[in-house]
């Protein structure tokens, strides 16, 4: 009799174990790749933000034509607004593609763009000086970028040509960026219509100029053709876009002289 009870108890335990096996989710013993998976996901989202920041700089410089209708209508706030719009568009586009690939939906939580500028002698300039963006995803990943730009502009008389020398220093998390890409163009506003004159590269990360400097300080020097630099009352803007490669640092510089730049 006692034996039968024991068998009954053992059979009961066996049946309960079988039921648990079917009903409970599988558990994992030992190490998992959860940390690496999370780190990979975080890096991927961080790089989406970085790429959006860089490509938005080129897109902003590329579409300045759309907002220029006279020689004075590009205040710093417009540059900030344009950049913010492009950043949003770039991020949404990339996050959409990422969602299709990984099944993870990310949204831009914070985007804080600052514009700085200066006025020296006979010219004024302004540029994107800092970018702070935070993205959150439905898998719990949160990523951010924090980059800054410091730019000093100098216009020069080079005889037959005019010259612009931009000292650009891009940083990400207080670390100087050594490899950048850049492009420059001139926008001349005539009778309310802007015309573009490409100077170096094009405002596309794939067709821009690569520039490596171990010090992290990049001198971007561009020449202004005689037909423009001879203007005694200049109607043109010089636009320069500079961005890191996958670091999330970028800037758009817009400069305008107020007198003749070249000749005697």
């Amino acid at each position: 009799m006692r034996g039968q009870v024991l068998i009954g108890v053992a059979a009961l335990i066996f049946v309960i174990t079988l039921l648990l096996l079917v009903a409970l989710p599988k558990r994992t013993i030992g190490p998992t790749v959860a940390i690496e998976n999370y780190t990979t996901a975080k890096r991927e989202v961080e790089h989406i933000l970085r790429n959006a920041a860089e490509e938005a700089a080129y897109a902003t410089a590329n579409t300045l034509e759309a907002v220029l209708s006279n020689t004075e209508n590009l205040p710093p706030d417009t540059l900030k607004e344009r950049y913010t719009q492009h950043f949003n568009v770039m991020f949404t586009d990339k996050a959409g593609a990422y969602a299709v690939l990984r099944g993870v939906f990310c949204k831009l939580d914070t985007l804080d763009v600052k514009v700085s500028g200066g006025k020296r002698y006979f010219y004024r300039y302004f540029y994107i000086s800092s970018i702070y963006a935070v993205a959150t995803c439905d898998n719990g990943v949160m990523a951010f970028i924090n980059s800054a730009a410091d730019v000093k502009i100098e216009f020069k008389n080079l005889g037959a040509f005019g010259g612009v020398k931009a000292a650009v220093n891009l940083t990400r998390d207080q670390k100087q960026i050594q490899l950048i890409t850049y492009a420059a163009a001139l926008y001349d506003v005539i009778n309310g219509k802007p015309y573009r004159f490409p100077i170096m590269g094009t405002f596309d990360p794939r067709e821009s100029i690569w520039y490596f400097n171990i010090t992290g300080l990049h001198y971007i020097q561009v020449a202004i053709p005689p037909e423009y630099c001879m203007m005694s009352n200049p109607t043109y803007y010089v636009a320069i876009a500079a961005a890191s490669v996958g670091e999330g640092a970028a800037t758009v510089v817009v400069a305008k002289p107020s007198r003749k730049l070249c000749g005697t």
Partner: protein
Amino acid sequence: MRGQAALLEAALLVVATVLTFVVAQHLFKVQYVQSDYALKINAERILIHWADTGVAYAVAYGVTGSGDPQYAKAALETLLPPNVGYNLTVVSLTRGVIYTIARGYDPARSDGATLILMRGEGRIISLRLSR
């Protein structure tokens, strides 16, 4: 007769207990039984390292935009011992496979990871390692 019955009961008890232990093992299923956990984690760590140092962009895009297989080969072979095989594939989201490089790769004994970069039209870097 009673002795035989007791023996049978004891045997059944032992069988039930052993079966319970065997079945219970499956409640704690260990991951990566057939693949190699170490290879997966190594592949993930290599890709994370590449993402942190910018190597991922050189590998996936290069200066020309079509990736740099020579650079990728050098970058991988400085990290991996000769007895570890690899298969690195870079895929463009719009143009398909850009390039594949491999060394002593055995798909049957492999595991790996992927990294997605969204610069331009986007790239997937797939790194699989094998013993």
